[in-house]
């Protein structure tokens, strides 16, 4: 009797596991518009590819110039005119990209809940927002940085506010216009406001034509950077 029940329970769990969505890849067109403190502006347009297993974030950029940029767990590469034009260390940045966070189901808390570096110190509900406060977990880290506020709207990441160690706002990010693609909730617009010397500088990233778990274009998802 007990064995039958156990088999039934495990069968239900196995079936639900088998049918749950596993997201490994995401591809989308993007544009990044940015105003910089030196008076210049950036406009970057292209298509971005990310494969969670290959651990590569690949930007196929068409504007301002045609180029490929590849971010791995350790390095950032740029390939222009079929030549490696730039290589520099970029340790640990990939983990924190929105693509990795989304595919790893860590976007809602911006990945802060999966490490011991920031600790959750407060949660409150205000209007339609659930706001959590994250503070550096050690005194040493508090010397380097301040708290982070994270707001969620309908259980989706909505906003981030970064403070310095003197409780001054460094930056805000807003994640809006979510779309659900094959069970993956992804924001199609990210608005970032940087506060520098009392002025606000904006950066707007837009994603469209989002494709999840595509099986084609393997050569781009797993861009062979060693060939250059």
């Amino acid at each position: 009797m007990y064995r039958t029940r156990l088999i039934t329970i495990l069968f239900i769990l196995a079936v639900s596991n088998a049918f749950s969505q596993q997201h490994n890849r995401v591809k989308c067109d993007f544009s990044i518009k940015e105003n910089l403190p030196d008076g210049t502006s950036n406009l970057t347009i292209g298509t971005v590819y990310f494969d969670k297993n290959h651990r590569k974030l690949v930007y196929n950029i068409s504007f301002p110039k045609k180029t490929f940029q590849v971010l791995t767990d350790s390095f950032f590469y740029e390939v222009s005119n079929n030549k490696l034009s730039e290589k520099k260390q970029a340790a640990n940045l990939l983990q924190f990209s929105i693509f990795n966070l989304a595919l790893s189901s860590n976007l809602a808390n911006y990945g802060l809940n999966t490490n011991g570096v920031f600790k959750l110190t407060d949660v409150s509900k205000e209007d339609s927002l659930v706001i959590s406060t994250w503070e550096p977990s050690t005194a040493k880290l508090k010397e380097l940085t301040g708290k982070v506020l994270i707001s969620q709207k309908k259980r989706l990441l909505y906003g981030l506010v970064f403070f310095d160690n003197k409780d001054k706002i460094l930056s805000k990010q807003f994640f809006t216009d979510y779309k659900n693609i094959n069970g993956l909730n992804f924001p199609t617009q990210i608005i970032q406001i940087n506060y520098i010397n009392g002025k606000e500088y904006y950066k707007v990233t837009t994603y469209k034509d989002i494709v999840v778990n595509a099986t084609n274009e393997n050569e781009i998802y797993n861009y062979n950077i060693t060939a250059y």
Binding site: S41, L93, L94, I131, T133, K140, L144, L149, F162
Partner: protein, 153 residues
């Protein structure tokens, strides 16, 4: 009467708690119109590029294209800064602590605190052990079926 008093106490307590932590919602107010105004000229360039497939900044500059008027467009890209800006003044190594062994290493390097490092290590091990148990249950017991079918005979 007692129930009324209890409910009243709960309502008052809740409002006190909410008021005590109120005030952060205003930090998350976003003025999209202001953003659109700030990005107006860049949006015009973006729309132009979208309707002229394959055009580059060099080409627009070479032809003195009017769409660049009033915009001091840089030839650099924002992709990497999109990631590094995630740090936003917060050292990038902190953001590297999100997952796995790197987190353990960095926790040690940054804090030089063996207790903190142990906590990170335990967290990592618990994750691995949990994952292994789930894998064993689903793959070996269910899909392999060896346990049940063997015990049935």
């Amino acid at each position: 009467m007692k129930i009324k008093s209890l409910l009243l106490t709960l309502v008052v307590s809740s409002s006190i708690i909410l008021n005590a932590s109120a005030g952060n919602a205003s930090l998350f107010q976003l003025n999209k119109e202001k953003v659109n105004v700030q990005m107006g000229q860049l949006t015009q360039v973006e729309n132009y590029v979208a309707s002229h497939d394959g055009v580059t900044l060099d080409q627009l500059k070479a032809e003195n294209n009017a769409v660049l008027n009033g915009v001091n467009l840089s030839e650099s890209t924002s992709t990497l800064s999109a990631l590094t800006d995630g740090a936003l003044g917060i050292p990038s190594f902190i953001w590297g602590c999100v997952l796995g062994w790197i987190g353990i290493l960095v926790t040690y390097l940054v804090t030089q605190d063996t207790d903190e490092t142990k906590k990170a290590l335990y967290g990592c091990l618990i994750g691995w052990v949990g994952g292994f148990i789930l894998y064993w249950i689903f793959v070996v017991l269910i899909f392999g079926g060896s346990f049940f079918w063997a015990s049935a005979h």
